[in-house]
């Protein structure tokens, strides 16, 4: 997990959302115990259908949807969290996820808001969330093109464990 100045802010804001574990039909009794077998971590990436790693300094494509809005793709791989239940996407025990895009002066220009999202456990054991649309609050690509921004993610699971990660990237128009 990379460490950036934004991480504590994300952590604090997410804890405000998180509160205590809520009632749920699905989490196994030992869900938190099992999750705690690994150290909590997050590895932020991008990609609409597959995880693509992001490094600080990478370019991140801004896509324009058919309705005229703009977005980037948020993707993350995590460890040490309860993944939730993919058969029940709205189950309150699913992890709460927030992706944000911030300019260098801290202005939030993209935000998913708090989303309940079950994570996918791959057959190799990796746990990931792929292809989350992070809407940008812009009317034109020119407002953010070629700017350095921070893409950040925060995930809090049913057990109250929070992981955060962020990358400094340059936004570019999609090709």
């Amino acid at each position: 997990m990379t460490q950036h100045a934004i991480a504590p802010l994300l952590l604090a804001s997410t804890l405000l959302f998180a509160g205590c574990p809520q009632d749920s039909n699905n989490p196994p009794a030992d869900a938190c115990e099992q999750a705690a077998l690994e150290a909590p971590s997050a590895n932020l990436g991008t990609g609409s259908t597959l995880f693509a790693a992001l490094d600080d300094g990478d370019d991140l494509e801004v896509h324009q949807g058919a309705q005229g809005g703009f977005h980037v793709w948020g993707t993350v791989r995590v460890a040490g969290l309860y993944a939730g239940d993919r058969d029940h996407p709205s189950d309150p025990s699913n992890p709460e996820v927030v992706f944000q895009v911030m300019t260098t002066d801290g202005t939030v220009v993209g935000d998913t808001g708090s989303l309940l999202r079950p994570l996918k456990v791959r057959s190799d054991g990796q746990v990931e969330l792929v292809g989350e649309i992070v809407p940008l609050f812009i009317g034109s690509i020119d407002e953010v093109a070629f700017q350095q921004v921070t893409l950040a993610v925060s995930i809090t699971d049913f057990c109250g464990t929070t992981v955060v990660d962020s990358r400094m990237v340059r936004l570019i128009p999609s090709t």
């Binding site: 259908t49 058919a66 309705q67 005229g68 996407p89 057959s123 649309i133 093109a145 999609s174």
Partner: protein
């Protein structure tokens, strides 16, 4: 040396070995099952599902490969040079797919139309379907091209001159609105000297052909995953594109993979929605979901918490006001009853009749009266006991039920749905008599109006669209996969559910019309601030200037290139559009509402072009009642002046209907 030898031995063993597990008896069909449908410890086969109902088909009969081989390498079709894995093929454009060796296309998807003649479409199987489906409107996508090209004057007619592929109809018989030849849409490379028609071709090529079954689509978005050819509909994909197969060798981690290896005619609506959330949005409207754009001011909407079809959480709305007990955008009554798209749409409706058409009106034949009869007659089977559509198509799932009345047996779950016969219904109210009866002069609404002209609960409409093609970035052709300058973007100006207008359909019946493609087009090219006046991105490393600035299109016959075309909203309701949507009240307080319905114009949606000329997007006729805009489908029209004059005669009670104030247009 020992280590190297050991490694080589392990590799060699892996190459020649079969799959782990109990000894598999010789399989009469293929050795494929050793890996994909292995026996468990108890000797029971598990894993890959049988692909086809009613019959057992060997894997190699569909996929090719070698069903006698004992190793993976020998059994599988060789991956062609330049292709990393099947997933790559499942994201190719149709022209790119044409370059893939057919043996490998068949390996990845035996039902792709390039090879389906050897598989699904073999003589003893679905030959008839295979002769028509590759030229149906869901395959050619011509309906999405001919209208915009006509609106901009690239075509002088609305003939489907171009599609996603060159096609020729050997048996062309001059069918109305069909063509003998169709060529592939290819936009010229854009530059500062390009014409508006060139720009339109570019956005069509880059923006539209996601949804046709000559390819798999980009397969890059949750909610859109699918296959090509027959499997494009008949093999089901989950919205997340992940396999739920028990095949121990199936990739269950990454999209795009089908839910299971199983072909079906019980196609759920979600499968249709992989494509039909676009265009007229009938897939989402059928289940009672609208889009959220530009209604942020509505305080109590309930939105779906899922990213779908490239839209973020909150984009799709299932209730405009969650504080009341009314669903402002209810699902279609048939959906509420448990019926799916495939219960009505089968046969020629979806597979075509072999003609190269340019609009759904020509191919889709099922009518409401085919199941519900008319005011004068109930539906009945033909002498052979078969229920048929108005066009003579068999309705295989309509029959006389146990109670002796016609029923539709749902393809989804086998439930029998009694078919209400209009002739048997008489509410006995003055309103019912006025709408379904026949007056002293012999007039009946039912003679000249589609049922859904009134029995539509709501329609999503997007009046006005600002399209920008920006040559500072590249766009990727969805037809051949190449990248050329010109990234296409668009902005809907309003998304509303209460726009309602009537027009004339291809069969001479009044029908709801959609305000399609009322576009304002901009093209931006790179700009050198040292020598030129730049208008876009002036302070960025890539400034631009506008060649076209919010320009409207015009047809060659002098009409505004604003679309106006029939739409079947698929939000059927047992109740009706209020009478004062079409007819004046005593006090004529609904004049604007009626003007919007008849295309005279309400002034509700007004947008200026780049030069400041204002356009009322609800106006489609002039003072004489003649169409001023392009009509997208051949054989359709505005409400004829004599009909409009007759509509304005009766006076009806005030239903309380009001139109939503959408506010003035603001520049995106």
């Amino acid at each position: 040396m020992h280590i190297i030898a050991l490694l080589l031995a392990v590799i060699a063993l892996a190459l020649v070995s079969g799959c782990p597990g109990p000894e598999q008896p010789a399989d009469p069909r293929s050795s494929c099952r050793r890996c994909h449908q292995p026996l468990d410890e108890a000797g029971d086969a598990g894993g890959l599902l049988e692909s086809h109902a009613f019959t057992v088909i060997a894997c190699v009969d569909c996929h090719g490969g070698d069903g006698t081989a004992q190793t993976k390498v020998a059994a599988h079709v060789v991956v062609p040079v330049g292709i990393e894995d099947p997933t790559q093929v499942r994201g190719m454009s149709s022209v790119e797919l044409d370059t893939v060796p057919l043996e490998y296309v068949r390996w990845v998807n035996p039902s792709d139309y390039r090879v389906s003649g050897q598989t699904c479409g073999k003589t003893e199987c679905h030959e008839a379907r295979n002769q028509t489906a590759p030229s149906s409107i869901m395959t050619t996508m011509a309906g999405h091209f001919n209208k915009p090209r006509y609106y901009v004057g690239r075509q002088t007619t609305r003939d489907p001159e171009q599609g996603v592929r060159d096609q020729h109809d050997d048996s062309f018989d001059g069918a109305a609105s069909a063509v003998e030849d169709m060529t592939t849409l290819r936009a010229p490379d854009l530059n500062a000297d390009s014409s508006l028609a060139d720009v339109v071709d570019k956005y069509l090529e880059d923006g539209c052909p996601r949804c046709h079954v000559w390819n798999f689509g980009p397969n890059d978005t949750v909610g859109d995953f699918r296959s090509s050819g027959c499997a494009g509909c008949h093999m089901l994909y989950a919205n997340d594109g992940l396999s739920r197969s028990a095949d121990p060798n199936a990739n269950v981690d990454d999209p795009p993979h089908p839910i299971n290896h199983r072909l079906t005619v019980a196609i759920p609506d979600s499968q249709c929605e992989h494509c039909h959330y676009r265009g007229n949005r009938i897939g989402t409207m059928y289940r009672g979901v609208r889009e959220a754009a530009r209604i942020a001011e509505l305080p109590n909407i309930h939105a779906l918490d899922e990213s779908l079809h490239g839209r973020p959480s909150g984009f799709f709305v299932d209730d405009e006001d969650s504080t009341n007990s009314v669903d402002e955008t209810p699902p279609d009554v048939h959906q509420q009853a448990g019926m799916g798209c495939v219960d009505c749409h089968s046969g020629v409706d979806v597979h075509g009749d072999g003609n190269l058409y340019g609009a759904h009106d020509n191919q889709v034949g099922v009518e409401c009266i085919d199941c519900h009869g008319t005011e004068d007659a109930v539906v009945a089977p033909d002498p052979g006991g078969v229920f048929r559509t108005s066009r003579g198509e068999m309705m295989r799932n309509v029959r006389v039920g146990d109670a002796g009345v016609p029923v539709m047996v749902s393809r989804l779950d086998g439930v029998q749905h009694p078919l209400t016969q209009i002739a048997d219904v008489d509410l006995g109210t003055p309103e019912y008599d006025a709408t379904h009866g026949r007056d002293a002069s012999g007039f009946s609404h039912l003679d000249s109006m589609e049922c859904y002209a009134c029995h539509t609960a709501w329609t999503q409409s997007c009046p006005g669209c600002h399209v920008t093609v920006d040559l500072r970035s590249n766009g990727r052709s969805l037809i051949d996969g190449t990248e050329t300058p010109g990234r296409t973007g668009g902005t809907s100006n309003w998304v509303v559910t209460d726009y309602f207008a009537l027009g004339m359909g291809v069969d001479g019946m009044l029908t709801p019309m959609a305000p399609q493609e009322k576009m304002f087009i901009t093209m931006v090219v790179p700009c050198d601030p040292a020598t030129e006046t730049c208008t876009d991105g002036v302070d960025t490393p890539a400034p631009g200037r506008r060649i076209f600035d919010q320009v409207v299109r015009h047809t060659t016959d002098g009409r505004l290139g604003f679309g106006f075309a029939p739409v079947v909203p698929h939000t059927t309701s047992s109740t009706s559009v209020p009478c004062d949507r079409c007819h004046l009240r005593d006090d004529e307080s609904n004049r604007n509402i009626v003007n919007e319905t008849l295309g005279i114009g309400s002034g509700r949606f007004q947008i200026p072009d780049g030069e400041g000329t204002m356009y009322d997007l609800t106006q489609v006729v002039d003072d004489a009642g003649v169409a001023t805009v392009g009509l997208g489908h051949q054989g359709t029209g505005v409400v004829p002046p004599d009909v409009a004059a007759r509509v304005l005669v009766p006076r009806v009670p005030n239903s309380g209907l009001t139109l939503r104030d959408v506010g003035p247009w603001t520049a995106p």
